[in-house]
């Protein structure tokens, strides 16, 4: 029996990354995205391709959102830095009582701010976890920030906000759901 067109498309349903949100930002203090985490996917990847303008030694934060509001409690995180050819260590850490995730510590004006953030289970009531690898510049050093986080609440998050301590971002962001 020959497959119909619809049956054929179902058999060939896409797997891998499916873009669910994205856009361009110009001199923006935050990147706020609502309704990007849905029941369609368990896991997500956020890609950043931006540049930072502002003061020296500024940080980038991540918080999850639900129903249009920021969740600012119960984050745990650890973020390590590697300055290429210079040094490495822990930049910041908190066990359970942070109001945000510190993604990046000490970024300088003119720095690129690229990389990816993986988010696991944001939409389910399972604890939301994440990990990231982000790249930027601190003075003359090229720096990688590697981190992970836990959100201990059982909230179903539908979005996120990436906030700069001060200054602005210009560039693009893309959010992908991971199709199974």
């Amino acid at each position: 029996m020959a497959l119909t067109k619809v049956q054929s498309e179902l058999l060939n349903a896409p797997s891998g990354l499916v873009r669910v949100a994205g856009g361009t930002v110009t001199a923006s203090s935050t990147i706020t995205v609502d309704n990007c985490f849905t029941s369609s996917y368990l896991n997500y990847v956020i890609y950043l391709n931006t540049a930072y303008t502002g003061s020296a030694d500024q940080d980038a934060y991540l918080q999850f959102r639900a129903g249009g509001s920021i969740n600012n409690t119960n984050y745990s995180y650890n973020v390590n830095y590697i300055n290429a050819g210079v040094n490495a260590g822990t930049a910041s850490s908190n066990s359970g009582s942070s109001s945000a995730i510190v993604l990046y510590d000490n970024m300088d004006s003119g720095s690129i701010f690229n990389g990816n953030i993986e988010v696991f289970n944001p939409q389910t009531t399972t604890k939301t976890t994440s990990q990231w690898s982000l790249y930027g510049e601190d003075g003359s050093n090229f720096k990688q920030m590697l981190g992970f986080s836990f959100q201990s609440q059982s909230t179903s998050f539908d979005g996120f906000v990436l906030t700069m301590q001060s200054g602005t971002l210009t560039g693009t962001y893309d959010v992908y759901g991971v199709a199974r």
Binding site: A21, G22, G23, T24, V25, T26, A27, S28, S29, T30, I31, T32, V33, D34, N35, D59, Y61, Q63, I70, N72, N87, G89, T90, A91, S92, S93, N94, S97, S98, S99, A100, V102, T163, Q165, S166, T168
Partner: protein
């Protein structure tokens, strides 16, 4: 202050900007409370120097190591 919300530039109202800045201030305050640990860890002299001093019985090297640690503690107080 301009933010990007769901792909659209948006200018915060005065109240929203105050909330935004309060959010950042709270995060910074939490970070500051533990920052000294990471600053100190990055600048403490290698522990191998202290062990080397013990192996050699070099009290002068031991005292120099302790002094260096105390200087780092003083540089980044709790």
């Amino acid at each position: 202050m301009i933010i990007n919300k769901n792909g659209v530039d948006y200018t915060l109202t005065a109240q929203e900007e105050a909330e935004h800045l309060a959010n950042i201030a709270a995060i910074q305050q939490e970070q500051q409370a533990t920052l000294y640990k990471f600053k100190r860890a990055a600048e403490y002299p290698p522990m191998a120097d202290y062990l080397d001093a013990i192996v050699k019985g070099d009290t002068q090297q031991q005292e120099a190591y302790i002094a260096a640690c105390l200087a780092v503690k003083a540089k980044y107080p709790k």
